[in-house]
């Protein structure tokens, strides 16, 4: 999977590394800003109210 991605990225190695770093940053941002906040209520280790 990642090997395939690497072979299909354009440019010399340092350009590919740059692209992958940016892609990783985008993935982290999407996770932190949207995915994890949506997921968190389903992870019940953090309930603090009595109800």
């Amino acid at each position: 999977m990642y090997g395939w991605l690497w072979r299909h990225l354009p440019g010399p190695a340092w350009v590919r590394v740059g692209i992958l770093v940016v892609a990783a940053a985008v993935v982290v941002a999407v996770c932190f800003l949207w995915a994890f906040p949506a997921l968190a209520p389903l992870v019940p280790f953090n309930d603090i109210t009595v109800d």
Partner: protein, 259 residues
């Protein structure tokens, strides 16, 4: 001229593995990479939950307090009012009680000297997770008493993550002040009891905690948070009773100096 490698030219690297191995190897490889990716994402989630939510919520809660122009903080003591004849007294007569505000309205702050002289967190109406507890911090159980009122002023807060306003709840000692400020008054409660209950034991929120069908005669405050830390198995409960209230122009002695 260029030295042509006419001797022992290395064989061209095979662009792909031999056919026979490729199907199984490819599938195993992709599954392995997916699992590694999943593991990294789970690790990221832990980082987000344990670190990033604190970063965001602490900033948010500090901003909320800063926007309350009546809120006293150590960094922003009230501009010294013209020295009146005498400082506002500590009063034990019936306290002024505000009406319950609209959901998600921040109406009070909490100071706990035991948790540091600079500890101040907003208290907001409601106990919704995403819109109150996970962002604004402490949430007031709707329908329970308001600060200073006879009955039970019940507040929930995170003990870990999301700014963790009640992180050090276990350090509270009997008699420690829990100081609530609203626009109308200061209310100084003192811790009377700490206990661990099951999440279903809502009787800790009763006007007289854990005593159904008893008419309240005291102003009580209750904190609820998770217990043990990082678990939802039980709840840590702190009860306090109102010691005195004070007009907002004053500052409770518990918050003065290096107390």
């Amino acid at each position: 001229m260029t030295a042509a490698p006419d001797v022992a030219t290395p064989p061209a690297r095979p662009s792909r593995p031999p056919r026979g191995r490729s199907v199984v190897a490819t599938v195993v490889g992709v599954v392995g990479e997916l699992l590694i990716t999943l593991g990294v994402l789970v690790g990221l989630f832990v980082v987000w939950q344990l670190w990033w939510t604190d970063v965001v919520a602490e900033r948010e809660q500090a901003e909320v307090v800063a926007e309350l122009d009546w809120a006293w903080t150590p960094q922003r003591p009230r501009p010294t009012a013209e020295p009146t004849a005498e400082a506002p007294a500590e009063r034990t007569d019936p306290a002024p009680v505000m009406a319950e505000p609209a959901y998600a309205t921040t109406f009070a702050t909490l100071h706990v000297p035991r948790w540091g002289a600079d500890y101040v967190r907003p208290i907001t109406q409601g106990t919704g997770k995403t819109d109150v507890l996970d962002t604004l911090g402490l949430g007031h159980y709707e329908g329970t008493a308001m600060p200073g009122a006879i009955g039970n002023f019940a507040v929930a807060g995170h003990r870990v993550t999301y700014g963790k306003p009640l992180n050090r709840v276990e350090e509270l000692q009997i008699g420690d002040p829990l100081i609530v400020q609203t626009e109308q008054a200061w209310y100084v409660y003192r811790v009377t009891e700490a206990l661990v209950v099951r999440p279903s034991q809502v009787e800790v929120l009763l006007p007289v905690p854990s005593q159904p069908d008893v008419a309240p005669t005291q102003a009580v405050m209750t904190l609820t948070t998770c217990h043990p830390m990082y678990s939802a198995r039980e709840r840590y409960i702190v009860h306090a009773t109102l010691d005195y209230w004070m007009a907002p122009e004053g500052t409770p002695v518990e918050l003065q100096g290096d107390a």
